[in-house]
Amino acid sequence: MSWQKEVEELERLRGMIRGMGGPEALQRRHDSGRLNARERIAALVDADSFSEVGGLTGRADFDAGGRVESLRPGNLIVGRARIDARPVCVTSDDYSVVGSAGGATVPGKFGMAEKMAGELRLPLVRLLESTGGNSRALEELGRTYIPQMEGWEHVVANMGRVPVVAVGLGPVAGIGAAKMAFSHYSVMLRGRAHMFMAGPPLVARLGETVTKEELGGADLQARAGGVDDVVDTEEEAFARVRRFLSYLPGSVWELPPRAEPQDDPGRRDPWLLEAIPRERRRVYDMRRIVNAVLDLGSFMEMGRKHGGSVITGLGRLDGWPVAVIASDPRIYGGAWTAESNGKLERFIDLANTFHLPVVNLVDVPGFLIGRDAEMAGTIRSGSRALSAVFQAQVPWCTVLIRKVFGVAGASHADHSRYRYRFAWPSGDWGSIPVEGGIESAYKEELARAEDPVALLAQIEARLNEIRSPLRTAMAFDCEDIIDPRDTRPLLCEFASHAARLRNAGPVATAMRP
């Protein structure tokens, strides 16, 4: 007596489920150069590590004898696997099953996957490709229904529990777009993925004639901040996912793992001494500075196309994962814009959620000014960014690279904490910059002078003496001015202290998407 017969039947049924939408549908995908839902999982996770949940779930047709004749799977594949030997949960939309639209949805499966990740405290990767609901499903159902966000209690909770990564690999419309945005990191495939609340046919009824690329292409969404990053191939997307997860703990109840240090913590890049132009109006390459002070090759920028005056990304210092914020003077001189405010708020909350110490490289002339900036609600979004700065509990280290002006500049750290901070000799700060103000402030002297040009130069030289950051340091208003080449050794020291200070557990102000 054994259960051999049943086990064989299980295998037969599993085979049908693994057949997905059938050979023809799979061939069409293959011919168009797309991976299918199971190939995607295999390409993402460690070899042979995928263990499916719901591997028998589908709609069966039975023959006269009650034997399953065919079994059509639902449109969502769910399971657990490992990435770089660490456990994760994975979901993969199966587009070969009637386009992965609502009709093939297995009730409860999506929410159970989210609950699994949250309760097992495992990162969740969503591989997304699905259309929204369609009217045909209504006829099958024979009635309409009040929409509700099934499983969303877990989706929302997971933002404060486990790393969630969303990958857009085809159309992600309606709820698919929401599954993209509800993540800590999202990446989209250029040319193949399109993300929007409703597609071109519906939008046309508003009088907008647009292609799906024009409406929700990857580059548009990256610029709008709807998605963090854009890649050209599915393999690249999976590589980004693995890399993002490498900096993060498995959940908020753990700490970010240190990698084997690959770089000398005492390395001093000589270029840093000349990185900042002596002429204050000139720009420079902040990304090169970031790369020079972090462990070589460890910086992974997130959201480059959106809110560009602030650079955000993850990196390592002597192997310890850190969250890096840096100003980009090439975009609005590094000023905080409405867009960069939102980006900052989310990024700081991300760091706080997953206990990543923050390194902030500052060159901030203030908030962006002007009528457009006011209309964009810059002060409202800026206030939210400030709240994130002041609510963050993670260790925080500031390097004042150049400008620190106005409210935005003043918010480079919560000043009431121990100020782990140093400045470069190019540091330049105050409530109002000197430039442009001299002519009006010294108008009379200049008008009386025989040689106004020479006098102007004299006054400028005098003021520049006063604005020297050394004077600020002498008054202990700045903790130290350093040789820029010492930045990396000092940041590595910070990371070693910060490592001890990180506290595992949920935080009060977890990231909101």
């Binding site: 204050r280 109006r281 000139r282 720009v283 560009g308 003077p329 090439r330 975009i331 609005y332 001189g333 590094g334 000023a335 002339p365 203030g366 962006l368 000014i369 002007g370 457009d372 910059p433 430039e435 442009g436």
Partner: protein, 75 residues
Amino acid sequence: MPRTPVPSPIKAMVWKIEVAIGDQVSEYDPLLILESMKTEIPVDAPCAGVIAEILVAEGDAVQEDQPLFLIETAS
């Protein structure tokens, strides 16, 4: 010959134009300097080619995405 527009990366004032019509430029050559938030922000050539049109003048206010130049490219 295709003409590639060079959009302004930000809303700003045009401070200095550094090229003339007919100039041959390489990718990353500075074409123009914008001024915003007391900072000089260079706009570099996105590709190699010849400056076919200059669409703004020094002192102009430009919007984000507004075309500044047309560059004629070989292919």
